[in-house]
Assembly symmetry: C2
């Protein structure tokens, strides 16, 4: 039997969250955190609604997953996020010692790779999963804003 639990499978769930952010007028970034093929956190960017720069999808997902686990380390967890994490989110992921980060679209300006933010040595990174879909949603958002 084919394994349905691919990176694209979970990125679609992150993309659904990004679409909810879009509908709310938020920069459309969504995230899920998965352990043993089970989604334990499902979040989207809420910086405008909450007037809070720390309310990125990833930050909420980390807090939510840690609550679920009952511990602060996200070992054996994978974060799926539609946009490459920023310095803040990558810094939080560093502390969490998360096992794997999968992101969709790259952020050439504010992404952690360009900024040189350090992840935990245990963390594996995969990029470009559903890159076009994730990037197109961002482009549609900023086109609407102009």
């Amino acid at each position: 039997m084919e394994n349905i639990f691919t990176d694209a499978f979970f990125m679609k769930k992150a993309l659904q969250e990004a679409e909810i952010a879009f509908e709310k007028g938020e920069i459309p970034v969504g995230a899920v955190i998965v352990i043993d093929n089970k989604v334990i956190a499902r979040t989207h960017n809420l910086t405008e609604l909450l007037h809070d720069v720390t309310a990125h999808a990833e930050m909420q997902a980390i807090t939510s997953a840690a609550n679920f686990i009952g511990g602060k380390y996200l070992k054996n967890c994978t974060l799926y996020v539609t946009l490459e994490p920023c310095q803040m989110c990558a810094g939080a992921l560093y502390w969490s010692q998360i096992s794997k980060i999968v992101f969709g679209a790259s952020d050439e300006n504010r992404g952690f790779q360009k900024m040189g933010t350090q992840l935990h040595p245990k963390t594996q990174v995969v990029s470009g999963v559903l890159e076009k879909e994730c990037g197109d949603l961002m482009k549609a958002f900023f086109k609407n804003k102009r």
Copy 2:
């Protein structure tokens, strides 16, 4: 009349917060955010209690100050924090466009300066205010732990 509202004056308040963290068994870091010589946020590290790597003093202070202001940008605000911010907190401070950051002790291993985290160009940084007091509290904490 002498100006009582010096950087040391507000760092003492951050240090009081760090002492509360110490008493709770948390890594003793405290922070306050000040606008027009008025403290609008007062926080300490709660990562252990909350099982949440994002619960650094600075992150809570940013959220708290933004709630007070009713907006996400911390213009004309100064953060006083007993320890040099990490990548995550510096990344959050970048987004907040805070005017000034004053820290006590340096963090040679995980501090944002060593890690190369970028702050907002509008943000001024002052270091070493009550450095010994802030650093001594950290040392006492880790000595207790051994």
